[in-house]
């Protein structure tokens, strides 16, 4: 049994086969896949529509031959094969949008054929070749698609960017669904999807070129900025390196100076220590001398105090003696006056004599007490010297 192939190209959509033309000695069979269908037209009427089956004894073979000879089979048998599965069709279009700009592209139609609609293809085969290809279908529906769908939709589009708008695509599909139903239904097709694929318009190409130039300019600017940044970075790096080297050199010099200063400082410290020791030594010596002078002064002061004490004692002794003598004198004169008075010898002359003698006595007593020289003296160091001092209390110089 031979396998009959009704479709030898992917572009073939449907084919009307006259069974008389494929008569062979052996039987022929056709395998119908799920996306294929076969409508049998027997003696001018539509018979069964088959799919997903193995169509045995379709044509040819002895039984067919004998049946035809005996006239017990149909006189006219035609087989209408068709692809039912969804297929895409690209229909070119060229039109103008609302602003006058030209738009070119393709309309993509995705069509399916229902099993019961397969016989409607007879409408096509009535006036066309028995094989329907993709191009054949496009040639039939293209004008109507352009007239009913593409042109109105483009006319409602105000700018080229609107061609890529989602609302435009939706409107396009809805328009196609509504406007193309009549033709497609007559041919037995069902529209599943419709959308336009538009080429870039002239203005879009200009915008694309402008965007490319801007992008290139921006790229150049970015490169220049990057180069400048690189130079600036290199400059900063070099300056930092120079500063670093300078700082290192300065630090080295500073370190050298510090070392020298530290050495000098050590010398100065040693000298200071030496000078401090000498000063302490001298201070000790001076303190010794001062202590010695203080001791001398103290001793002189002590001696002076002792002399003053003795002098005071002597003066007190003298004064006591004088007072005692004066009292004795007074007692004696009193007794004498009393005796004179008792004896009636107290006359004016006696009194006068008595006063005269007493005055003379006082003069003698006074002269005796003022025999000491009280004139002040001054030492060579400027210190005032009192009478009776044997040495200066300040400098210790002996007084002559």
């Amino acid at each position: 049994m031979n396998e009959f192939r009704w479709r030898d190209s992917p572009d073939t959509i449907a084919r009307l086969v006259n069974a008389e033309n494929i008569q062979t000695l052996s039987k022929q069979q056709v395998m119908l896949k799920p996306n294929e269908a076969c409508a049998m037209i027997i003696d001018g009427r539509i018979g069964d529509i088959l799919s997903e089956t193995l169509l045995k004894s379709m044509a040819g073979g002895f039984s067919r031959w004998i049946g035809d000879k005996m006239g017990i089979t149909a006189n006219d048998r035609r087989l209408l094969f068709a692809m039912t599965g969804p297929m895409d069709y690209w229909i070119p279009f060229e039109g103008q949008i609302a602003d006058g700009e030209k738009a070119k592209g393709y309309t993509n139609l995705r069509l399916r054929m229902n099993l019961e609609d397969v016989p409607k293809l007879l409408n096509y085969f009535a006036n066309n070749a028995p094989t329907l290809t993709r191009d054949g279908l496009i040639s039939i529906i293209a004008d109507e698609v352009n007239a009913r769908v593409v042109t109105p939709c483009l006319a409602s589009c105000t700018s080229a960017s609107g061609l890529r708008d989602a609302s435009f695509l939706e409107r396009f599909e809805m328009t196609a669904e509504s406007e193309m139903r009549n033709l497609l239904s007559n041919l037995g097709f069902t529209l599943l999807k419709a959308f336009p694929i538009t080429n870039p318009t002239d203005m879009e190409l200009v915008q694309k070129h402008r965007a490319a130039v801007q992008a290139k300019t921006a790229g150049t600017e970015a490169n220049v900025e990057a180069q400048l940044a690189h130079y600036a970075q290199t400059e900063a790096l070099t300056i930092s390196r120079i500063e670093l080297e300078t700082n290192v050199a300065r630090a080295k010099a500073r370190g050298q100076v510090t070392i020298e200063l530290e050495a000098e400082l050590k010398d100065v410290r040693a000298k200071e220590a030496n000078w401090e020791a000498e000063r302490n030594h001298e201070r000790g010596k001076m303190e010794l001398r001062v202590d010695e002078a203080d001791a001398k002064t103290k001793r002189a002061m002590d001696m002076f105090a002792e002399v003053q004490g003795r002098k005071s004692n002597r003066i007190a002794n003298q004064q006591n003696f004088q007072n005692q003598r004066m009292e004795n004198q007074n007692d004696f004169q009193t007794k004498m006056m009393e005796m004179a008075a008792d004896n009636g010898a107290l006359t004016a002359e006696v009194m006068q004599e008595f006063l005269r003698q007493q005055t003379a006595q006082k003069a003698v007593d006074g002269a005796g007490s003022e025999s000491v020289n009280n004139s002040p003296k001054v030492c060579s160091c400027g210190t005032g010297l009192s009478p009776g001092w044997k040495a200066c209390p300040s400098c210790g110089t002996p007084i002559a």
Binding site: P86, L115, E170, M174, E177, S178, L192
Partner: protein
């Protein structure tokens, strides 16, 4: 399955009300039954799509894009379901030679029950689609809501029909 078990008889009868010739996968007629069920689902879905086409046309030409968009979505959902059903697996013949295990009564019962339920569900979708068109014609009720409910029902049908594939896939491995 030589005879039809009593417990699934109501389901078989339910399907037979819609599909004349359906016999519940009796031996020798399983592929035919499977094809009948799938064709019925496709036919019902096509009815839903036709209603939605009418809704879409009237609303789009009337400028009511919201409802038209919802109807278009429902049409697309119908297309998806039709395509799912058209390209669904059937299997189950020549089990011995193909390496599949033979379906048990339990498998077939599950399949028959599933057929009944999915046909009922698609029928509900048809009713909803009819209601939406009626709602638009009489301007009663929220037509957009009914359209969207139809979409939801068809979408549920897709998911529910996919379970059939799972049932049939269980037959592909011999236990």
């Amino acid at each position: 399955m030589i005879g039809t078990p009593l417990d699934i008889l109501p389901y078989v009868r339910g399907v037979q009300l819609i599909l004349v010739g359906y016999n519940g996968y009796t031996k020798g007629s399983r592929l035919e039954n499977d094809k009948m069920v799938r064709e019925e689902i496709t036919r019902a879905t096509t009815r839903v799509r036709s209603h939605m086409q009418n809704v879409f046309d009237s609303q789009f030409k009337g400028g009511n894009v919201d409802v038209a968009r919802a109807a278009k979505q429902c049409m697309e959902e119908c297309d998806y379901l039709i395509e799912d059903v058209a390209k669904a697996v059937s299997g189950m013949e020549h089990a011995f030679l193909s390496g599949q295990r033979s379906p048990t009564n339990k498998d077939l019962k599950k399949l028959i029950k599933h057929d009944n339920e999915v046909i009922e569900m698609v029928t509900k979708g048809v009713n909803l689609a009819n209601s939406s068109e009626h709602s638009i014609a009489t301007e009663e009720g929220n037509s957009k809501q009914i359209v969207m409910q139809t979409t939801q029902m068809i979408s549920s049908c897709r998911g529910f029909f996919a379970e059939r594939t799972r049932v049939l896939a269980g037959l592909k491995q011999k236990k």
